[in-house]
């Protein structure tokens, strides 16, 4: 009896609220991306209009989400029949890996051959958007997404402060370390940094770690190769260096309590600090907020502590565009990806302050955006692009915070990360 009434209610709900889908010849392509800022929206709308003009029977229905929302919604949205046809996918095991393992993404190899995507950027970068078909091996196998942006973690600096203190852009590790002292003596915070949000610590510590490491070791850790390990001499050294910098007061005072968007950013654009070690994604905001930033702010790579000429640097391609395995419009979706990751898009992205994965046609050397593009060109052409550690060790931010606060020693820190890493397999 009870069961029957339940069924009735359920049936009633379905009857009254069931979706009505209009059947027509027009194709609606559902696209999910992470371009949420207003200016970015306009840029994407422009590209979408371009695509709709080229394909008159296609209407693009686009939704923009924060990266974290996108990652959270993706698995379930992609398992639905009316889910997004094209979606931006986060890299790493818990992002793309889980989706591939569940068979939710379409391999793009054939489309890549057809459209010539392989030549868009370096082969090593395509590896970041690749997984084995069962989703267990990262960095090999099929291509599942194509990116249109790139990122490089380097150092923004105020040229005026450098001039005031008689500093040149450091090209070696020793020069960099002595610059830290000079800046501090000059009354500025050498490196603005805030670790309240957790993730910025991954970039700051990770940058130092990359300076001490070689790509093979980090690749093996990242892609979970048989000899992948976190317990390396370089990692312990990097932790000790960071602790030394904290001790010496090279970072913002009270950095543990500073968030990224307001406090840290504010400290840099407010000239409290001379340098900011962070990702190239801030270029657009800095250009917008700092007067004449193109001329007064510059960008350089943290020099290698291992003496390499081109320093190994955290970076990579941004979220890539993938196609839902169950879509009925795979060909159209691929055509869309071709446009959105192509040269026209690159120029528009560049105009928005983004670092496009493909070098834009025109840029000016010596400007902030020029610095960023050249830094990226340098590391991607020399195969010195490192990794975001949280792609394979999701809890590493907490571990770094514990190490920075002296709750654990550098050795215990690497052991803790290793433990999390192994249990995550």
């Amino acid at each position: 009896m009870k069961k029957l009434s339940l069924l009735l209610v359920v049936a009633l709900l379905v009857a009254t609220m069931g979706t009505t889908t209009a059947q027509d010849e027009e194709i609606t392509l559902v696209v999910w991306d992470n371009f949420t800022r207003e200016a970015e929206q306009e840029m994407i709308e422009e590209l979408n209009a371009m695509f709709e003009e080229m394909n008159p029977n296609v209407t693009i229905q686009r939704e923009a989400y924060d990266t974290s929302d996108l990652t959270q919604l993706a698995p379930r949205a992609l398992s639905e029949d009316n889910g997004p046809d094209v979606i931006m996918v986060n890299q790493g095991f818990s992002g793309m890996g889980a989706l591939v393992e569940a068979g939710l993404l379409l391999p793009l190899n054939d489309y890549a051959d057809q459209y010539g995507w392989w030549d868009r950027y370096a082969e090593g970068l395509h590896a970041r958007n690749s997984f084995s078909e069962d989703g267990t091996e990262f960095g090999t196998g099929n291509l599942y997404s194509v990116s249109n942006t790139a990122e490089v973690v380097g150092i923004y600096y105020h040229k005026s402060i450098f001039e005031e203190l008689g500093l040149e852009v450091p090209t070696t590790w020793d020069e960099f370390v002595s610059a830290l002292t000079t800046i501090q003596e000059g009354g500025y915070t050498p490196i603005v940094f805030g670790s309240l949000d957790g993730w910025p610590a991954i970039h700051t510590w990770g940058a130092i770690q990359h300076a001490y490491s070689d790509l093979a070791t980090i690749d093996n850790f990242m892609y979970r190769a048989a000899d992948g390990t976190f317990e390396t001499e370089a990692n312990v050294q990097a932790a000790e260096t960071m602790l030394g910098w904290i001790e010496n007061g090279y970072f913002s005072p009270g950095f543990e309590g500073m968030d990224y968007d307001n406090a840290t950013y504010g400290a840099f654009i407010g000239f409290e600090g001379a340098m900011w070690l962070t990702g190239s994604w801030m270029t657009g905001s800095i250009v917008e907020d700092v007067e004449d930033a193109e001329a007064t702010v510059g960008f350089f790579l943290l020099p290698s502590a291992a003496g390499e000429e081109v320093p190994l640097t955290i970076g990579g391609v941004g979220l890539g565009y993938g196609i839902r395995a169950g879509t009925e419009h795979a060909d159209i979706a691929a055509a869309y990806i071709d446009l959105i990751t192509g040269p026209e898009a690159a120029n528009l992205l560049f105009a928005q302050g983004y670092l496009p994965a493909i070098t834009p046609e025109e840029y000016e050397s010596g400007t902030l955006t020029g610095d960023v593009i050249e830094a990226w060109e340098l590391i991607s052409s020399s195969n010195k692009v490192g990794h975001y550690l949280d792609w394979t060790a999701p809890d590493i931010a907490a571990d770094i915070q514990e190490m920075m606060a002296g709750e654990v020693s550098p050795d215990e820190f690497t052991a803790n990360v290793q433990e999390d890493y192994e249990s995550g397999e």
Binding site: S5, P75, E101, L196, S252, E256, G257, M258
Partner: protein, 347 residues
């Protein structure tokens, strides 16, 4: 007969009276009854009707929605807690493995400990503050109390998202709290005795973050306790206070011997509501310290459940955590309700 009672009830309901400084609308027949039943209000007759099927007719419409949208999913969660499941692929039955793993999961143990630590700030301190405020507001017949009643409840009304934004701003390293400390010179005092650092990064500091997050919890929850006690104190007879005064009781003794016993039931309700809130807390931590940082210092169970379910794609494991947490909550709440019902029977 019925009409007579009704007219009594409705006649008087428009006459506000002031009692304990709190304006209430009283119904003489009601309040007389209530006061004759000091110290506990009690029903005189047994529950009037005992037709179970008729009762069910009233309960059923809501019950169906509840069963479909709460009970079914709860059962689903219990089922998934025995499975290895990403949250979107075919689940695989693994028996008690998830629960076994929980026992050795340091993060989970830390999270449960934190939940209990926060319950001091969510439950005990707000109840004490609530009692204190209510004793101030109700025993003194002062003007303008409505301003305090209205204003003091405001934090409880706020969306936790906004509370988080506000307090992140207050705790900011160059924010109002640190500025106030340095302007008033307290910074120097605390620093000299080694209590504070040059710039205290409150929410990012391993020592202070748990207290900072806890304090925000107190700030939010005391209003609920206060309002519950304000309501409760109205049901305590004025005669009891008069009697106490005749025996020479000072305000503190009046509070201890009259107010507190009279509010026992309300304290229990406040305890259950705030304690459940403390164990379930999610939004506040999520907006204040993101994933429960610094390190894992303010991590709570709900955050771990969320992380496992949505970030690590271990929905089965997350479900097991949720089941353990829910069991703790249910056992403790049931215990308190049992106490409460025994208490009111004894009265």
């Amino acid at each position: 007969m019925f009409k007579k009672i009704m007219s009594q009830a409705s006649n008087s309901s428009s006459e506000p009276t002031v009692k304990h400084g709190v304006e209430i609308v009283s119904t003489p027949s009601f309040s007389e009854r209530l006061q004759s039943l000091i110290p506990w209000r009690r029903r005189t007759s047994a529950v009037p009707f005992s037709s179970g099927s008729q009762a069910l007719l009233f309960i059923l419409p809501g019950l169906i929605i509840y069963v479909v949208f709460v009970l079914f999913p709860i059962i689903g969660t219990i089922r998934y807690s025995f499975m290895e499941w990403t949250g979107f692929t075919e689940p695989e039955w693994i028996g008690l493995d998830n629960y076994r793993e929980l026992m050795d999961d340091e993060d989970f143990i830390k999270a449960i400990q934190n939940n209990f630590f926060f319950s001091i700030f969510y439950t005990i301190i707000p109840i004490l503050i609530g009692l204190f405020l209510v004793s101030l507001m109700s025993r003194s017949r002062l003007k303008g109390m409505f301003i305090f009643r209205a204003g003091l409840f405001v934090p409880q009304v706020m969306s936790p998202v906004v509370v988080g934004i506000i307090w992140r701003w207050l705790f900011d390293y160059s924010g109002p709290i640190n500025r106030a400390l340095s302007i008033t010179g307290l910074q120097g005092v605390f620093e000299s005795v080694g209590l504070l650092r040059r710039v205290t990064p409150w929410l990012g500091d391993f020592t202070y973050a748990p207290y900072a997050v806890g304090m925000v919890g107190t700030w939010v929850e005391y209003g609920l306790c206060m309002v519950l006690f304000l309501a409760g104190i109205q049901s305590i007879s004025e005669e009891l206070y008069d009697a106490a005064i005749v025996f020479g009781a000072n305000p503190l003794q009046q509070f201890w011997f009259v107010t507190l016993p009279g509010l026992r039931q309300h304290v229990l309700v406040a305890f259950v509501l705030t304690f459940i809130a403390a164990l379930r807390v999610f939004d506040l931590v999520f907006v204040l310290t993101r994933q429960g940082g610094p390190g894992r210092e303010t991590i709570v169970t709900s955050i771990l459940v969320y992380k496992n379910t949505f970030n690590l794609h271990r929905a089965g494991y997350g479900a097991a955590m949720a089941v353990v947490l829910a069991t703790i909550i249910v056992v403790i709440s049931a215990g308190v309700f049992w106490l409460q019902s025994r208490d009111s029977e004894n009265a």
